[in-house]
């Protein structure tokens, strides 16, 4: 299932992309010819799929967890009111439909009828109301209350209608209702929902799979929900095995202990390029929902000058980065949105690799070549340190390649990797950095107010590079205050132009998601959102079913 968290924009931690989330025009599947023949196979119920996951679940209620493994697990058991469809557009899940009032301040959700919780109790608007109240309840240890605090009034006039009113129109609000809806009848006796058995031991939701067991550190198991409102899923069991080591997981994949995992670029291009591997697995490839960037502290004396930032952009050979870091499995980035989506502006000024132009720009900015080859300006050498977090191999490689590119134009860049918590608390929060290499996950909703607004430069806030541009501020506000896609697109297109001119970041690359799935699974149809959106329609033909002891 591995759905995108609806409205959560999170920094990527150590291991790069975690979900199978993916998309855009580049999706490709190896061995597509085989699939057409296979499509004629009749769907069958049964079998199990085994996923490999680096991390363990830390709880089942997404309001209180923040890691990918937990959100993944919850997505089998719970539903939201809305979700993203295969083309990354919002569609109803527990909500059959919704209306946004013409002033944009009121959203009315019409809920699906006949939906039941896994224990048989009917789902109603009371559950939605309860979920909303719990999220904004100060006793709930959640980091996600902010979107829901924008709600001025919520009401449920009848069991199948839920209405929320906002102070001002707030476009990202719609996606925030993708939050897991919780069962009131099971949770109301707990003051703190994180202490309930539904979070710790046994989640009960409305989703396509029912919880079976969680062996901490070993595996999480789910079983098809025969009464799911979109039909019983074909695959009887979903087993997520916790395998922290990527190399071990790949051996498990090769030996059949795991049916699906996300490959690294080197595994995809080298280790999985054997005849034997192709016999059993399909590999998929599509643009991931994240990008990597080089961000400058804009108050730094070197980087305050836009010419210097442009020179650096010209000095970097992004093509070589994609080749060297991603083995070609990705694309150059020019802005903060996912290529191919409605909000992505492909026509912003790019800064092609041109070291001569870089040198000229640096000279204009007053930087002259010194005796040792390093540029100097008023006796100061152009020497700075780029920081990145330890444990992320692709960022370390990126730094090493950038070092080469920059030294070619006379800039001495040193590399320092720091453990994540120290990196955030000692360097980012205290603004003690010259430049950083980091990544952002890109949410389907284009609101990036927190990253670019000049009001978000305070302590712990995310515009830590200190970008400030009044036009961008105005456009960010405009973009989040209307539900009109055309108006939003215009605002965000302009923002991308400004970002490209101002270059608070040099956008480096967008990697590809590289899942491999055993080829006994049929019905996988790659789409812009990835492959998991139609997971309940994946199946294994009867004669190829592997795990039969789980059948009822």
């Amino acid at each position: 299932m591995r759905r995108l968290p609806a409205a959560v924009l999170v920094a990527m931690l150590t291991f790069g992309t975690i979900g199978l989330a993916a998309g855009c025009s580049g999706e490709k599947k190896e061995g597509a010819a085989k699939e057409t023949a296979a499509m004629r196979v009749a769907p069958a119920y049964g079998d199990a799929i085994v996923f490999g996951s680096n991390g363990d679940v830390s709880g089942f209620l997404t309001a209180v967890t923040s890691d990918a493994a937990s959100h993944d697990a919850a997505s089998y058991v719970f539903n939201g009111l809305v979700r993203y469809d295969k083309n990354v557009k919002l569609e109803g899940e527990l909500a059959e439909s919704w209306e946004v009032a013409s002033d944009g301040k009121k959203i009315t959700f019409r809920l699906r009828k006949g939906v039941k919780w896994h224990d048989g109790t009917p789902f109603t608007s009371d559950d939605v109301m309860f979920t909303y109240r719990k999220i904004i309840d100060p006793k709930t240890p959640t980091a996600y209350a902010e979107d829901f605090k924008q709600v001025r009034r919520a009401s449920n006039p009848d069991p199948h209608t839920f209405v929320v009113e906002y102070e001002k129109p707030f476009a990202p609000a719609l996606a925030s209702w993708g939050m897991s809806i919780l069962p009131k009848h099971l949770l109301e006796k707990y003051e703190d929902i994180s202490k309930s058995p539904l979070n710790k031991e046994h989640p009960i939701g409305t989703g396509p799979y029912k919880f079976v067991e969680w062996k901490p550190g070993a595996r999480v198991v789910f079983e098809a929900n025969p009464d799911y409102f979109e039909g019983k899923p074909y695959i009887q069991r979903v087993i997520t095995r916790i395998i922290p080591d990527q190399a071990t997981m790949f051996l498990e994949l090769k030996s059949g202990g795991v049916d699906s995992m996300n490959l690294t670029p080197v595994q995809y291009t080298r280790q999985a390029e054997t005849e034997e591997f192709r016999k059993s697995y399909n590999k998929y490839r599509y643009t991931a929902f994240n990008y990597t960037y080089l961000g400058f502290r804009l108050s730094h004396p070197f980087f305050a000058d836009r010419k210097v930032r442009r020179a650096i952009a010209h000095a970097i050979n992004k093509k070589e980065l994609v080749e060297g870091v991603l083995f070609g499995l990705g694309r150059e980035a020019i802005g903060p949105y996912k290529p191919g989506t409605w909000v992505y502006n492909p026509d912003v000024p790019a800064f092609p690799y041109d070291p001569a132009r870089a040198r000229a720009l640096l000279a204009e900015a007053g930087w002259k070549q010194g005796a040792d080859g390093t540029l100097e300006n008023g006796g100061k050498k152009f020497r700075f340190t780029v920081l990145t977090n330890a444990g992320n191999e692709s960022r370390a490689k990126t730094a090493a390649i950038l070092q080469q590119h920059l030294s070619a134009v006379g800039i001495a860049m040193e590399i320092r990797t720091v453990e994540w918590a120290a990196f955030i608390n000692e360097f980012i929060d205290k603004r003690k950095f010259d430049a950083v290499i980091l990544g952002w996950n890109v949410t389907p909703d284009p609101d990036q107010y927190d990253i670019w607004s000049s009001r978000k430069t305070g302590p712990k806030e995310l515009n830590f590079v200190g970008f400030s541009n009044t036009e961008v501020d105005r456009l960010l506000e405009e973009g989040r205050r209307t539900f009109d896609l055309e108006k939003r697109r215009k605002a965000y297109f302009r923002i991308q132009e400004i970002l490209a001119e101002e270059l608070p970041y040099v956008f480096l690359y967008v990697p590809d998601s590289l899942p491999a799935v055993h080829n006994r699974f049929h019905g996988i149809e790659p789409a812009p959102i990835g492959i998991s959106y139609n997971f309940i329609r994946w199946f294994v033909p009867n004669e190829r079913q592997k795990y039969t002891s789980f059948q009822k």
Partner: protein
Amino acid sequence: MLRYVVRRLLLTIPLLVGISLISFFVMNMAPGGPIGAAADMNPKATAEVRERLKAYYGLDQPLHVQYGRWLRRMATLDFGPSFSPDGRQVADKIRERIPVTLAINLLSMGIILLVAIPIGIYSAVRKDSWFDRISTVTVFTGFAIPTFWLALLLMMLFGVKLGWLPISGLVSLEHDSLSLAGKAWDRAQHLLLPVLLAGFGGLAGFSRYMRSNMLEVIRQDYIATAKAKGLTERLVVFRHAVRNALLPVITILGLSVPDLLGGSVIFETIFAIPGMGQLFYQGVMSRDYPLIMGILVIGSFLTLIGNLLADVGYALADPRIRTG
């Protein structure tokens, strides 16, 4: 003797408090905190949310108050709830991990003793023989080889190429549907590689200790006397030499007690074994203070007890150092 043991046991209490005090403050000096995972780089986490989360975990209190609270709970042997989102009890988290780690460590310790002691004895008795040289090279190879590398090679050979053994984990997915014997066989298969590897890596220490102790002992006068009495070599070695040479091993065994629950992070990560090593590592990475403290306290307690056991065992085995 009894009074000595009781006095030593009582002494562990202030020692434990001291250790926990230092651990607590050092832990809090590390950058970051328990709410970082949820709040850092999360645009939804406003200053207000941070404050609320801090208050929720009691992190808004001064350090000495936090430590006081923890100590008061500890006095009733309550480790408290973990800071991870599931909020499960630290004691439960540790309890479910102990059997795995203990089993692997006991088994590998057994293998080490069974193999290393004879190697040590034989290499000492036949010093500089071919056997001595080859065994020396072998045990040091085991000591020097990076475990993760050897583990991956063996997984590739036995798991992927030959298909004889499972690659990682503790039980197979269909474990529950197996017969009792099937279950036992399933577990044994899963444990084989990790236990053998852990054993191989540990051979060097014990066999070298045993060898040098034996060399020391066989030079003693009483061994010469025993030989002069015309005893067979077997009797000299096993009745007179080995028993004396084993004495220092007791000390090392005692010091190994905390290792039995320590678990190795690299090892458990490679084999996807949900043991104590992984638990502690995750606790540290997510700054799960109660969990870290819980494991540290257990670790230091076992270290102190292990030391005591070594001293007592030594006294029992060697009449010369028995205290009044």
